[in-house]
Structures are given as structure tokens and as C-alpha cells.
Amino acid sequence: MNLDFSRPRPLLEVKNLITQFSTEAGPVRVVDDVSFHINEGEILGLVGESGCGKSITALSIMRLIPSPGEIAEGEVLFGGRDILQMPDTELRTVRGREIAMIFQEPMTSLNPVLTIARQLMEPLRLHMGMTKEAARERAIELLEMVGIPDAGDRIDDYPHRMSGGQRQRVMIAIAMSCNPKLLIADEATTALDVTIQAQILEMMAKLTKEIGTALLIITHNLGVVARFADRVNVMYSGRIRESGTVDTIFENPRHPYTVGLLDSIPRFDEEERERMRTIEGEIPDPANRPSGCTFRTRCRWVADDCATLDPQLISFEDDHNVACWKAESVSRDRRPVV
């Protein structure tokens, strides 16, 4: 292997991750052999539709998989250490301090019976060893940083006094309080109105850049990825099907699913309105995936081999990996007529 020292260092490396849920019919792999990495300070997008396994991937990184789920195989290397093998004491210092996470529901992620001050000061005192006074001062600073007006007064409010957008700002303040190396945002702005979503995403991108935090954006919104991400992983049915830089993925996608996804979003800046191109059929049930390539039942480019041979993610060109037998002939301009 060629060692290239000019390349950015990976901060997090997920290797062959398999996360499964036990059901009456046996274990179902929700994340099925997923590998990817995030470099220091980088913004990586993880996109896919419901049930593709993107959220479970994030929860696996944090070892937050709820029962009856379990991480069956794989490694999650963070600064050279495998999170999946860490003792609980070590895990606690990683969670919250080095890797922070924000979820979609700002309603349920904050404790309704504790003031914002309590919830914001806790990680500062626990992870940073601050005194009460110092923590409070820093907490107010953080609230100002995420754009809460009158932070000095609002800090003693309970979460229900705040709007959805403000609660998500507080969540970001908590997440960023210990200057984490990685922030995972799982559909963090999906529940918010577009004008609020824009404010919060801009703020989050600016903040992580200033501190040098890497950002993993998990979303179904391709616009958000195009706006903020450096690189993108596209997931379908538990696996990464294509990965590359944003420019490559949006301009020169080579996986039929990525092409289909990009085709099925209407754009308000397009000149003429055409009939929507769709991906026919439905997302397969993870317990009952098609043999071979899991996308073949909905694919326009499907060939005989696709039913028997399961394509692996392979390098198509520099920084561009595709899991498709027909990748050579797939593009947005050449769609077979079905």
C-alpha cells in the first residue's frame, strides 16, 4: 500500500460494521457491513431514506444501540482506539466530551424538569472540571454563541419556554460545550421550518469550523448535504452504495439509486417543469431483502447478474466508490427507458 502523508488524517474509521436486531424470524441486519471514515474537521453527509440504517449507524458509533439490537461485528476506531471494545469508564469520556450528538427531536432530547442552566452546566462540570461559577459563565457564553437572545436571563428557563428552533440551539450549545472532535447531527433540523433550519445549519457549520470539529450530517435532505458537506455517503437498505465528494456525487453519480434520488427531487430553480422521474416500487423490508444487489428490484439498469452477485463498494475513480455492476454505464443523462 502506498503511504501518502499529504492526505488528511482520519478522525473516525468505521470498519465492516454490522448491527442487527433480533426478531422472531432471526437476526435482521439493519446496518450491513458498513465502512467509512471522517477526517479531522471535515463535514461528511450520510444520506438515505427511512429504514436505510443511517441513524442506527450513528447510534452504533456511540454504542447507543437499544435492545434487542446489538453490534455484531466491526470496529469503530476513534483516534486509534476501538470504541466498540472500550471499557465503560473510557466510553463515558468519549461520549459527550469527544463525540457529541444531536437528534431530530429537540422536544424529547432536553430534560423538561431541569433548567437550561442545569443541563448546560452538567457537561462542563463533569468533563471539563469547571467550578459552578465558571460553568455558568461559560454556559451563558455558549448560549450567546448559538444565538439565543438575552442568554443571561434565558439560561434559567425551562425547555418548554423555548421554541423548537431555540431548543435545537440549546442542544447544539450542550453538544459543543466541551469542544468535541466530532459532532453527529442526526436529522437535527428536519423538524424545523425552513427559515429556522437555514439559521441553525449556518450557525452549526460556522461553529464547527471555528473549533475544528468534524461534522457527520445524517439527513434525507440532499439540499442540506449539497450546501454543507465535503463528502457524501449514500446508504440504501443497510449498506453504503456510493461515496464521493459532493461535487462528484451530485454531478456524476454512478449508482442507479443515487441517480434516482437526485431525479426524484423537484427543484424550484429549474426552467421547465417536467413530469417527475420516480424510483418505482418500495424500499425493501430489511428482513426480506432481494438476493444479490438489494436495489435491483427498483433499478432501471438491472441486468441478469444483479440477482446473483452482490456488488461491493469499489473504487470507480479517485475519491469515488460505487457498488454497482453497471457503474460504467450509469449516469444522469443516460437513462434507459423502462
Binding site: 437572545p149 421550518d193 429556522i196 451530485f250 413530469r275 420516480t278
Partner: protein
């Protein structure tokens, strides 16, 4: 079925099928336990005027609290308007008695956002779809009823034998098709579609949008399409209206609204949507609005948008702007245009 080109039609002409005149929906805020009394009002919809032509799709967009859903329900009288008129097919339906309203309601239908919550989980989907046929006595015999339910399933792209299944056996996209089939059962002229695709994945969303466009053409339907996703709305609408805090701030043809938005709120709303185009996103100008959407309990005086408007002047806190013609087929409510 002829598919046609969804991009072609200009707004249909003639007499409007539905006209809302100064529609207001104010919800009282009650206080007290023994002697409850109103201490204020949430002005969910505060004086909306608009008309929808036969065969037209009018898009209605707005963020949460804009009143778009309340307005959609008020024109079907699923919520009673506090004041104003709703003229449907030449008749003010706000004044109709309950019995008469029920007869008119046959011609109006609604499709809801939540494909999980809007179907009765204990009812076979065939019965859900066929219920309007029973209510309005639109079938001649048992065979005719089953025939019609089967036809409706066919029309929305489901198979006829699905009538005997329960909602939990359906995916989100299929359930939404069931919702559409039910709304079509009584052969309505007009449908209010309230965020019909918002809960669906993008690949499924596109399928449903195509279906709605096909149905409109085949059955001469008129739509009020309510959504927060401006790209979807542009795709399906002839004209688009923008609401903010209970008021219409702009209404125009879909082309004008998106290429030449006049109201500062519409401009900000469009610039806030990230487009799936990384090169464009890096260079695009964007207007990031300050602050939150005010509560409709306590809207700001003057123009409701003045607290967040980058162009607001002192006058904006004093004058309530009315919709005015700013170009052909294009109205906006702003004193600074």
C-alpha cells in the same frame, strides 16, 4: 390515460370554483375553571381573500403557525370560520345548515398529511375507501359498491384485492394512496391536499405527485395544495400563495413567484431552501432571517413580518399592508415594494 405536460397550463380562466372572502378564524384563549372566559384570541387566519379556478392547482405555502392548515379546513367547514364568506360553485357555504352542508361536502374532499394517523387501523381499507359511498348513498347495490371500491383502488395504483387488508399492512406511500382513493370516492370537484407528500420518502413522494397530476387531468379536479416544501409546490401548482402568521403576503403564478418574488418574506423563504447542487450552493446569495416566527397569540402590530424583515421601516409597525397588484397576476402585501 393522457399524461400531458405538467409544465404547460396557464391558470385556467372563467368563474372561480371557490372563493374565500375575508376569511378569519380566531380561536379564543380561555382562562378560568368554573367561569371560563376568553382572555385573548389566536388569530390563526386573519382575513384571507383568494379564489381558485376550476381545474387549477393553487399552492398554499407557509411555515408552522402560518394558518395554512386552518385555512384549508375552514373552507371545507371542518373548522368554522369566525367571519368571512366561502363561495363554492356560486353559493356561500358558510351560511348553509348542517344537512345542506353535508350534501355539498360530497363535492369537496380532503387528503391529510399523516398516512398513519388518518386511517382507522381497525377498518379494512376497502371500508375506509367506500365509506363516503355509503354516507352519500352513491351505490346502487352491494355489487356496485364493491365494483366502485375496486375501481378506486385501481385508479390510485393499488390492486383491487387490497380492499380486504388493514392499514398496518400498507407502506406509507400506499396508505397515502388509500387516502386519495377515499377522497375521490364521492367524485368531488375540489380537493384540499394538506401536506399530502411531506411524510413520505423522496422516491415515494415523486410517485404520489405524478399520481395527483394524472388524477387532476383525468377527473377535472381542482386542488388546494398545502405544503411547506416550496419546490414540491412549484412543481404541481398553477399559482402559489404564501402565508405568514395568518395572512396572505404574496400570490402569483408559479413562474413569477419563484423567479420574481416581491415580498421580502417570500424572498427569504426561497433563499433558505438548500438546493441539491453543491456548486450553486457555494455561490448563492442567501437571506438569513433573524429571530423566530412570532406566536400567533401575540402577532406584532402593523405588518406581521416586520420583526424579522430585513427591509422593515418604522411605518411597517404601524400600517397593516393589504395585497396589492405588483405585476400582472401577481399580488403582494408590502408597503416597501
Amino acid at each position: 390515460m393522457q399524461l400531458g405536460n405538467p409544465g404547460s397550463p396557464s391558470a385556467p380562466e372563467g368563474k372561480p370554483l371557490l372563493e374565500a372572502r375575508d376569511v378569519k378564524v380566531h380561536f379564543p384563549i380561555m382562562k378560568g375553571i368554573v367561569r371560563t372566559r376568553p382572555v385573548g384570541y389566536v388569530k390563526a387566519v386573519d382575513g384571507v381573500n383568494l379564489s381558485i379556478m376550476p381545474g387549477e392547482t393553487l399552492g398554499l405555502v407557509g411555515e408552522s403557525g402560518s394558518g395554512k392548515t386552518t385555512f384549508g379546513r375552514a373552507i371545507l367547514r371542518l373548522i368554522e370560520a369566525t367571519s368571512g364568506q366561502v363561495i363554492f360553485d356560486g353559493e356561500n357555504i358558510v351560511e348553509l345548515g348542517e344537512k345542506e352542508m353535508r350534501r355539498r361536502r360530497r363535492h369537496m374532499g380532503m387528503v391529510f398529511q399523516d398516512p398513519f394517523g388518518s386511517l382507522n387501523p381497525r377498518m379494512k381499507v376497502g371500508s375506509t375507501i367506500g365509506e363516503p359511498l355509503v354516507i352519500h348513498k352513491l351505490h346502487e347495490s352491494k355489487e356496485d359498491y364493491h365494483q366502485q371500491v375496486g375501481d378506486l383502488l385501481d385508479i390510485v395504483g393499488l390492486s383491487r384485492n387490497m380492499a380486504d387488508r388493514y392499514p398496518h399492512e400498507f407502506s406509507g406511500g400506499q396508505r397515502q394512496r388509500v387516502g386519495v382513493a377515499r377522497a375521490l370516492a364521492a367524485k368531488p370537484k375540489f380537493l384540499v391536499l394538506d401536506e399530502p407528500v411531506s411524510a413520505l420518502d423522496v422516491s415515494i413522494q415523486a410517485q404520489l405527485i405524478n399520481l395527483l397530476e394524472d388524477l387532476q387531468r383525468e377527473f377535472d379536479l381542482t386542488y388546494l395544495f398545502i405544503a411547506h416544501d416550496l419546490s414540491v409546490v412549484r412543481h404541481i401548482s398553477h399559482r402559489v400563495a404564501v402565508m405568514y402568521l395568518g395572512r396572505l403576503v404574496e400570490i402569483a403564478t408559479y413562474r413569477d413567484l419563484y423567479t420574481n418574488p416581491k415580498h421580502p418574506y417570500t424572498q427569504a423563504l426561497l433563499s433558505a431552501i438548500p438546493l441539491p447542487d453543491p456548486k450553486l450552493e457555494r455561490t448563492r446569495d442567501r437571506i438569513v432571517l433573524k429571530g423566530d416566527i412570532p406566536s400567533p397569540r401575540n402577532p406584532p402590530p402593523g405588518c406581521v413580518f416586520n420583526t424579522r424583515c430585513p427591509m422593515a421601516t418604522k411605518e411597517c409597525t404601524e400600517i397593516v399592508p393589504e395585497l396589492e397588484l405588483v405585476a400582472l397576476d401577481h399580488q403582494a402585501a408590502c408597503i416597501n415594494i
